[in-house]
Symmetry: C2
Subunit: 314 residues, 2 copies
């Protein structure tokens, strides 16, 4: 049995369902709440459809799809939970209102992780009874496969709470990355967003299509980034002298106009280009077929990288 | 035998040597030139050390390390070559001076690919006798493994030259990405540079260490980007409605201050943080050990992704 006996998941969209699948696969009891019609049925369908990926990754001995319960109020969902994962829409007012209810009914020593991709923990903590236990715990899609979770405490959070949270997320086979300074977008999304903004500019300016940009990442940097991040990758590109040589050689390029500095206006025309680009790239293959293919790939890739990741202390 | 009988490689740094290894592995005769002392010995050592990776990727039947010749002038190197790959330092004056010599001695129908990561083909073509055949052919490190090569013609380049170049690079197992609009940094480096600039800001502001940033990529987006680029990845994050839903949900975040908009000043302090971060992350492992590990990983990963890449028309 997992060290977390009971987990609550509030909000069951793509991210919430991803968490549910991960928690179930790791042998937790999961209590879920989502007011949307048909939410329970949809979640059970998602869990069933990704279970084979979870099996390939390795299920906990006592893992079972049957350990999922849907309830009809936040109170019932959170009252006995050790960890509560919040995944409601990414709007400060919505998140704060839901967190206020969770705060009211949760055990004082429960940890409340918000999946927010951009909001700071201190903002989410304002006005709560036990603010310190509300932290950012930001996962990556598909949550049931990708191991990264960014943990960021707010002003009221103690080191002990972060340690407890780290231990919880590690117990469900994640790689918690503790970030000590709060900024909007945390770390991973800022990096992705920088690349994304530049990609939108390239499409907007007619330099490349979405499919060409995808190819420019897949066949080049993407292959390297699955094993090493941008820094260690460049450390190797510098030859025997590593990053020192790299910065001497390419540092001056920082002064060159190699990126656009502002995000482009998301005009209807740009939106259509991007949507059309993805839809035509995907062709007749449905999103769900793409997902199966991605999942099979990621499971094998995770096996592969296990042997090759440079040791990391984080 | 490869359709390119003879290839010339001018400049044998990390990139030039990467090209030599790829060309030899694909059964080409390679003639190399580099004025630096000990260049030939170093190149032969590199080729030898990466040959086992080339074997795992699949050598051409007639591939041999012995088909490499070093010569002592540009004239000898290029006079019989079908394809000439230029890899001298990334400075416009240096590149133009070397290209002027190559242009003088090469066969008129030879193709001259420059490995430049940032300079535009039209700039490189200025003042040459046969300018159209000089194109950007920008590869990615390690060149003997990563398949991406960006091809960009200049004002003098015809569609026929680009087609010929595409065919040449395909014959050495590459994925040529033809870019129809010239911009500094082409496409892939603009994307990488955007992420890199943001990463430097995060280090500069004390938000995360280089190792933490690497982890933020490896365990999350990097795993996805080895198979799908940023667009198709987000297409899947949007659920059944794909990119359309994604843009509705996260489009507004483009207005948020989620990235820094200017590259940070590369102060000595920032340089040291970055260098120290990489060196301490690498620890006792030498660059060359990291390279072997990376190569083994990439060879297996390439095998894996072969089955899972979404069909791409580019």
């Amino acid at each position: 049995m997992n060290e977390m006996k009971k987990v609550a998941v509030i909000g069951t969209g793509v991210i919430g369902n991803g968490w549910i699948a991960r928690f179930l696969g790791q042998g937790c009891d999961v209590i879920a709440f989502d007011p949307a019609e048909g939410a329970e049925e949809k979640t059970r369908q998602v869990v069933k459809s990704v279970w084979s990926s979870l099996e390939k990754l390795g299920l906990a001995a006592d893992a079972s799809m049957d350990r999922l319960t849907f309830v009809s109020t936040i109170e019932e969902a959170v009252q006995d939970a050790d960890l509560i994962q919040e995944n409601v829409p990414e709007r400060v007012d919505v998140k704060k209102s839901v967190l206020t209810s969770i705060d009211q009914y949760a055990k004082p020593d429960a940890i409340i992780g918000s999946s927010t991709s951009g909001i700071m923990a201190t903002t989410l903590q304002e006005g709560l009874q036990y603010p310190g236990r509300v932290i950012v715990a930001h996962p990556f899609n598909p949550v049931y496969i990708l191991p990264l979770v960014e943990l960021v405490g707010g002003e009221a959070t103690t080191a002990q709470i972060i340690e407890q949270a780290k231990s919880y997320y590690k117990s469900v086979q994640m790689k918690p990355l503790v970030i000590n300074k709060e900024i909007e977008g945390h770390v991973a999304d800022r990096l992705m967003e920088a690349l994304w903004r530049e990609a939108l500019h390239l499409v907007n300016d007619g330099v490349a299509t979405t499919e060409e940009i995808d190819a420019a990442i897949i066949y080049g940097a993407g292959l390297r980034w699955a094993q090493m991040g941008p820094f260690l990758t460049f450390h190797l590109a510098g030859g025997e002298q590593g990053m020192r040589h790299m910065l001497e050689q390419f540092g001056p390029a920082l002064k060159l106009p190699w990126t656009k500095l502002e995000a482009p206006e998301l005009t209807d025309e740009l939106k259509e280009k991007v949507i059309e680009g993805c839809e035509s790239h995907a062709g007749d293959v449905t999103i769900s077929e793409l997902e199966s293919k991605r999942n099979e790939f990621l499971v094998k890739l995770l096996d592969l990288v296990e042997d090759y990741w440079p040791e990391s202390n984080v």
